[in-house]
């Protein structure tokens, strides 16, 4: 790994140059919060913010995406024969300032879209053409718990470049070929002064020490799936408050569920994939009227069991969460995944009790 130095004025010039080769996506302020959006030439990504309100997962997995199209005119060759849309454009794009927790969500989501039997061509092509320029987190928010969720404020495993803010300049770790290529295109190549790696290490330790909230996950794999499923002490109270709004699932960088709908516009039919949410009754509603997850307890339980038990058992590589804390801070009724996780981890089926920890 190479570390280079990017003065902040060179950063701005380099970003401008990147417009020639990349669609640039960065954080911009909208009302009282930040979102990731496509940057226009001359527009700079904001770097001084805690985290975006919703994750940048849409860059690779759009909220609504046409997956197939065909003609509804019988004179056309593709009359009622669905095929990939002709105008799919997988241009090179770069996300500037993405946080490590959001980048770390991508390999988790990839497990869903890239399997031995089936590959989702849309997710994979969008992923392959994306370069992730991350920004190490020095100012975590109180709901962050990345360090105990398999991620961390300086986690660079799933980034192509990681920037570390060092006053008047960034120290930039060039981590992959994609990162090398982007740094080249931006003209960033200045050597660092001695001790750069030490100062990254020092900042990392400082950042990690600021994250005080955490989840205990060590016992989740040992718990019996059906015991947790039947642990009403965990589900009843949380479900009582839950209004099934789905905010958690839309804000979450690791939620991947989707719906498929057909729409006809003029003489063209489109098959469209849209983000969906396990919080909604229609998600599992049979045409007969039967609903296997017909109560909001069923639906709330599905979300937490999926992330913290089904996923854990299926892939044997930790939880389906990177600790970004969005669902904690955005939930209108204060349901806290950290508390639920700690309850699941400590649940004792003999006594039906949990060692409940304060959130």
């Amino acid at each position: 790994m190479k570390v280079i130095k990017i003065d902040k004025n060179e950063w701005a010039d380099g970003v401008e140059k990147l417009h020639d080769n990349y669609r640039l996506i960065g954080a911009v302020r909208e009302k009282s919060y930040h979102i990731f959006a496509t940057l226009k030439p001359g527009q700079k990504p904001e770097m001084e913010y805690v985290n975006s309100r919703i994750s940048p997962k849409y860059v690779i997995y759009p909220q609504s995406e046409i997956i197939l199209e065909c003609s509804m005119d019988e004179n056309d060759e593709d009359y009622k024969v669905y095929h990939e849309p002709g105008d799919k454009n997988y241009e090179e794009k770069a996300v500037l300032g993405v946080r490590p927790c959001d980048a770390d969500s991508l390999p988790l989501v990839r497990r869903n879209f890239d399997t031995d039997e089936y590959k989702d061509p849309y997710w994979l092509q969008a992923f392959e053409t994306t370069t992730l320029v991350g920004l190490a987190c020095d100012a975590p928010c109180p709901s962050c718990f990345c360090t105990s969720a398999g991620s961390g404020p300086y986690n660079d495993q799933n980034l192509d470049i990681m920037l570390v803010d060092n006053g008047d300049h960034y120290l930039a770790e060039i981590l992959t070929d994609k990162g090398e290529k982007l740094a080249g295109a931006a003209g960033w190549d200045k050597d660092t002064e001695q001790g750069a790696e030490d100062s990254i290490e020092k900042r990392k330790t400082g950042a990690e020490s600021k994250i005080t909230s955490k989840v205990n996950t060590d016992n989740l794999a040992n718990q019996s799936l059906l015991d947790l499923y039947d642990a009403t002490i965990i589900w009843e109270k949380a479900a009582f408050a839950c209004i099934n709004c789905g905010t958690c699932t839309y804000a979450c960088p690791t939620c991947w569920c989707f719906d498929v709908q057909d729409e006809v516009h003029g003489r063209q039919s489109y098959r469209i994939r849209n983000w969906d949410s396990c919080m909604y009754p229609l998600f599992t509603h049979h045409a007969s009227g039967h609903n296997p997850r017909g109560t909001k307890l069923d639906r709330l339980r599905q979300r937490f069991m999926h992330k913290l038990k089904y996923y854990v058992d299926k892939y044997e590589d930790g939880i389906q969460c990177t600790g970004c804390g969005r669902c904690v801070s955005l939930c209108p009724v204060n349901i806290d995944i950290r508390r639920i996780c700690n309850m699941m981890n400590s649940y004792d089926p003999e006594s039906c009790t949990c060692e409940v920890t304060a959130s």
Binding site: M72, Y82, L225, Y229, W256, D262, P292
Partner: protein, 281 residues
């Protein structure tokens, strides 16, 4: 990269109304591109997504048998948006089929065994596929005794009536047809619910006997204690599930029962497997 969302284009070759209330029709499809039929190689018990451009897709069990060549058949109950539209379509119309999807009945495991098929109502489609498959001269010798117990509300609600009658006349198949009730004094078959007929007619559960059970939840609920009594263990009771589906390939996230997807890890499960998952079906 093969795109798993693209259906094979097909033409509706034949439509047959199956039941007296006209709620069930069997559609025979022919692939527009003959090479797609080879790509669609399937086993009895699998399902496919029937795709109607502009409306959507529905997951339906494959009713034809892999031993029947040149077409695929699906029997569809008219119930929602897509199935209602499908019921209004005509022979010659173009639509799509995506699949085959999911797993199949465990044919390798069933070789050399007695097979008892228990079906009710319109959940008989993949069971038809299975019976035709087992009765194929190449395959019949692979299985020992075959029993079929199939029931519907009334004679007019039975699927595949001509075939049922033909099977009832065979020596190498024990066919038990039943209806809940009928006012036909000459009805030659059983009258009574499927669990009752199962108790009377099914062979006892042995190490070499497997039951495949498909039907409405109420039938399954009352058949299970009968099978217990007859000595069938939970790993010798095979069931096929249905859940709401979209993608059919284990990605969209809605049809799971615990960590298993009905679309990809199922739809066929043993009762033993189901006893280890939440009952979200």
């Amino acid at each position: 990269m093969e795109n798993p969302y693209i259906p094979y284009p097909v033409r509706i070759d034949e439509i047959k109304t199956e039941t007296e209330d006209k709620s069930l029709k069997t559609f025979k499809f022919v692939f527009l591109n003959p090479e797609d039929e080879e790509k669609f190689a399937y086993r009895a018990g699998q399902f496919a997504e029937l795709s109607i451009p502009g409306l959507g897709e529905i997951p339906i069990g494959i009713a034809s048998s892999p031993t029947e060549k040149g077409f695929v058949k699906f029997t569809v109950f008219k119930t929602g948006k897509v199935t209602s539209y499908l019921h209004s379509m005509k022979e010659g119309d173009i639509m799509g089929i995506r699949g085959p999807l999911g797993n199949w009945y465990p044919w390798d495991m069933l070789e050399g065994k007695n097979v008892v098929i228990i079906g009710g109502g319109f959940a008989f489609t993949t069971l038809r596929s299975s019976i035709i498959y087992m009765l194929d001269p190449e395959n019949r010798k692979k299985f020992k005794d075959i029993h079929v117990i199939y029931g519907a509300r009334s004679p007019g609600m039975l699927l595949y009536k001509d075939e049922l009658e033909a099977w009832a006349g065979l020596d190498d198949l024990n066919m038990h047809i039943t209806v809940d009730g009928t006012d036909d004094p000459d009805w030659p078959h059983h009258t009574g619910f499927v669990p009752t007929i199962t108790e009377q007619e099914a062979p006892s559960g042995t190490e070499d006997t497997y039951a495949i059970v498909c039907g409405p939840p109420i039938m399954i609920k009352f058949t299970q204690p009968v099978l217990d009594k007859l000595g069938y263990t939970e790993d010798r009771i095979i069931m096929s599930l249905e859940n709401r589906m979209k993608c059919g390939i284990g990605m969209c996230g809605r049809c799971n029962i615990g960590k298993e997807f009905v679309c990809k890890d199922g739809p066929v499960f043993t009762l033993k497997q189901l006893n280890q998952t939440p009952k979200e079906y």
